[in-house]
């Protein structure tokens, strides 16, 4: 699996700071609402995620986890 984020949907208050912070513009506030009644953040195109963590650092509710793809170990010449 590639880079992606996980949003704790019921912690999100839909402030949209991550939407602004994402340099790839792949986070949006979704149409669904969470338990609190807010439109929570969703990553719309994980394939372009660079795992820069800007969204997670920006999130005042600490609701975003960034999952970095496991890199294949570089092949080293013997």
């Amino acid at each position: 699996m590639g880079n992606r984020i996980e949003v704790d949907r019921d912690r999100c208050k839909g402030c949209g700071l991550c939407v602004v912070a994402c340099p790839k513009q792949i986070i949006e506030l979704g149409r669904e609402i969470n338990l609190k009644g807010y439109h929570f953040a969703v990553q719309v195109d994980a394939s372009r995620c660079i795992a820069c963590q800007m969204c997670a650092v920006t999130c005042p509710e600490v609701a975003i986890t960034v999952i970095r793809a496991v890199r294949k170990p570089a092949r080293t010449a013997v």
Partner: protein, 350 residues
């Protein structure tokens, strides 16, 4: 302790400030976007001696519980958001009639009806033209988390000084936003509590009541209330004049809208337009005089609200015929951008 800077959500800062101001009793009922206030209180109040939290069965019940708490001389608070405040108005009117010092926080959301849960300060009318009967709330309108914490502490002292309900009027943005806050050292002052129903051994009993069936007695009571309100109007007006020294154009805004307006003013000043702002901090008593004094030197006032024009009535009352008063508003939980205000001022300035 005093210099400790904390990053807190507005609602939590409001709750913590209340506790530090000696509030030991909180009665609440859930409603977004103020839920963090009761949530915080339900934990925090049990860390202090004599602290209690009750989730009431309804908003009406909660507002009558603060009535009871204040009647026995305790500092008590309740909080809600717009639709819930409609219900609390009943108990608060009783508190005003019985001259009880209580604090109520309204973290406003969109309306009318159930409206929305987004920031929408559209309860200016019910705050400044309150529920049934002839009375006033003292209304404090913070525009940052820091100011919310400071004003909540002041709210308890104002309530006790004048034995009257005090409303703290924030909105979903002030309540949900996280900002640095430094709690000021709260110094408890002594207030006269000899009127309380706190046990009458060795003295005449005190009766806390708002029912006056004899019209002449009720008239006398209401006149007494309005002597008190006249004193509040003389002594307690709070207003921020932002960059008004050389201003030719003034914005009028409070709370969330004011902080957006300040950003707009920086942009407008960079373009060479001399714009300032008059920001009422007490919505009642309203700083009519600040507008009356400034208006003759202004080209116009732009009243910016997140409602369809409520405060503008008071702004017009202050400005009178001295200069035109224009309006810009967004509603329903839509938050205006600084750019929108800039564009509006630019268009009006010609």
């Amino acid at each position: 302790m005093a210099t400790e800077k904390l990053l807190m959500k507005g609602n939590e800062a409001i709750a913590e400030a209340a506790v530090r101001a000696g509030c030991k009793l909180f009665f609440g009922y859930p409603i977004t976007p103020q839920n963090e206030i009761p949530e915080y209180m339900s934990k925090r109040l049990y860390e202090i001696d004599g602290g209690h939290f009750v989730q009431a069965e309804s908003e009406v019940a909660a507002s009558n519980m603060i009535y009871g708490a204040a009647a026995v001389g305790q500092r008590a608070m309740t909080s809600s958001s717009s639709p819930g405040i409609s219900l609390k108005q009943e108990g608060l009117s009783y508190c005003a009639g019985s001259e009880l010092p209580v604090v109520c926080v309204n973290i406003m959301r969109g309306g009318p009806g159930l409206g929305s849960i987004q920031p929408s300060p559209s309860d200016y009318f019910p705050a400044t033209r309150p529920g049934h009967g002839d009375f006033r709330y003292i209304v404090l309108a913070p525009s940052s988390v820091q100011e919310a914490a400071d004003l909540v502490m002041d709210a308890f002292d104002l309530a006790d000084t004048y034995r009257n309900p005090v409303l703290v009027l924030g909105d979903g943005l002030i309540g949900q936003m996280m900002e640095p806050v430094v709690f000021k050292d709260y110094e408890p002052r002594a207030f006269d509590k000899t009127w309380c129903a706190s046990g009458c051994e060795g003295r005449e009993k005190n009766i806390i009541n708002s029912l006056y069936l004899e019209p002449s007695v009720l008239e006398e009571h209401n006149l007494h209330l309005f002597e008190k309100y006249a004193e509040i109007e003389r002594k307690e007006v709070r207003v921020e004049r932002y960059r008004m020294e050389d201003a030719e154009i003034a914005l009028a805004a409070y709370g969330t809208t004011a902080r957006i307006g300040k950003t707009a003013i920086q942009a407008l000043r960079a373009e060479g337009l001399k714009v300032g702002m008059i920001r009422p901090i007490t919505l009642w008593p309203f700083p009519w005089a600040a507008f009356r004094e400034a208006a003759p030197g202004l080209r116009f006032v732009l009243d910016v609200e997140m409602s369809m024009g409520q405060m503008i009535q008071d702004v017009r009352m202050g400005v009178g015929e001295a200069c035109p008063v224009h309006f810009y508003g967004r509603v329903g939980g839509m938050v205006p951008s600084p750019g929108e205000i800039v564009a509006r001022v630019r268009a009006l300035a010609g």
